[in-house]
Symmetry: C2
């Protein structure tokens, strides 16, 4: 398809598509003469991914380029490509390792992973932003004076594990490896707001089932 | 306890406590003479809640006052107080009801609630920010050109329902009605980052179980 058709099918203006091409967020089309290039389904798919990251995820252009670099680097293994793409997305700041609450939270989270049998996640703990986020959140509870220990988190972790199994089952329905990797990036951006909304809706449903509408 | 002791136990400076008292975020202590007031456990608990909202949740002071107004209004029923407090927290903007994607998303979400049997959530749909968030998210998928329907969300919704049951079971362990309502507000602020971190950790665990570390 030509640029105009790519714009029509994607709903992205030709000016924006040209900008993405200049910024290297979209691979160049196949040049068919000096002024015309031909684009295909892969360009359309990549364009949707770029829009999802920029418009829905609020990811800066430079970061989008970095994520796509991981997505496209097929010298990396699958788990690394899945992870590297998601790890390039916005994350919580580094916790202050000198802080006593942070140190205690590290111990609690390590014990939680141990009880859950999440050995791989434990192995990744020094480099994983998700692990760091959990430590920061547990430390925040403690710093505020709440003594809910990480053992309260165990049933939640089991439900989130089942959620992750669904995520990967869905990912595996994607027809190609490139699409599976892209799906993982999309999931990180689009699915989290969906899960949060479903969780809040479920709270409303359950709360009114228990207590009525009064 | 005196102001200095309240400050010591909460880790909040006396200047900040005085600011919260002036702003009406903390009820006044019991005046024991012209210059000294006495504070109790309830002040300490409220102080922790205010800090969680402001420091962790990033909730503006005026909004904190509004949320606490709902929390403290025992003329309201329980489900309303639980909901009203959470509904006062930051939410997604209103969707554009003239947008075709939004209209289609409304229909998809209504059909999803119907299949799930979430009749109460459906009754609340016109006023619920959670419902609105889900409509916005589903419309975003469609607008980006992804045709994953809301039926894909059904197993996720079932897991989020089990998560909400855990939330309410935990809430019911709180010793007083005031503490249960406060716990609901805290949950909305503190639990969501925890669930997100657990979900991402579970994805790492499951992804490396399936594909190894390569």
């Amino acid at each position: 398809m030509r640029l105009a058709e790519l714009s029509r099918q994607s709903g992205v203006s030709t000016a924006t598509i040209k900008y993405y091409l200049r910024e290297g967020l979209l691979p160049p089309g196949r040049q068919i003469n000096a002024t015309t290039a031909e684009y295909d389904e892969e360009h359309l798919r990549r364009l949707r991914l770029v829009r999802a990251m920029i418009q829905v995820g609020g990811v800066p252009v430079a970061k989008v380029r970095e994520v796509l670099g991981h997505v496209d680097d097929d010298s990396l293994g699958r788990a690394i490509r899945l992870g590297a793409a998601m790890w390039a997305l916005p994350q919580v700041p580094e916790p202050d390792e000198d802080d006593g609450y942070v140190q205690a939270a590290h111990e609690e989270v390590a014990a939680l992973l141990d009880r859950l049998g999440w050995q791989n996640a434990a192995l990744l703990s020094t480099i994983s932003p998700a692990y760091r986020s959990l430590v920061v959140a547990v430390a925040a509870f403690r710093r505020l004076g709440y003594d809910w220990g990480a053992e309260l988190l165990e049933p939640y972790a089991e439900l989130m594990y089942r959620t992750a199994v669904l995520d990967l089952d869905n990912l595996e329905t994607q027809p190609s490896e490139a699409e599976r990797i892209e799906f993982a990036v999309l999931g990180a951006i689009l699915n989290e707001p969906v899960l949060q909304a479903l969780h809040r809706l479920a709270q409303e449903e359950e709360s009114t089932r228990r207590y009525g509408f009064e």
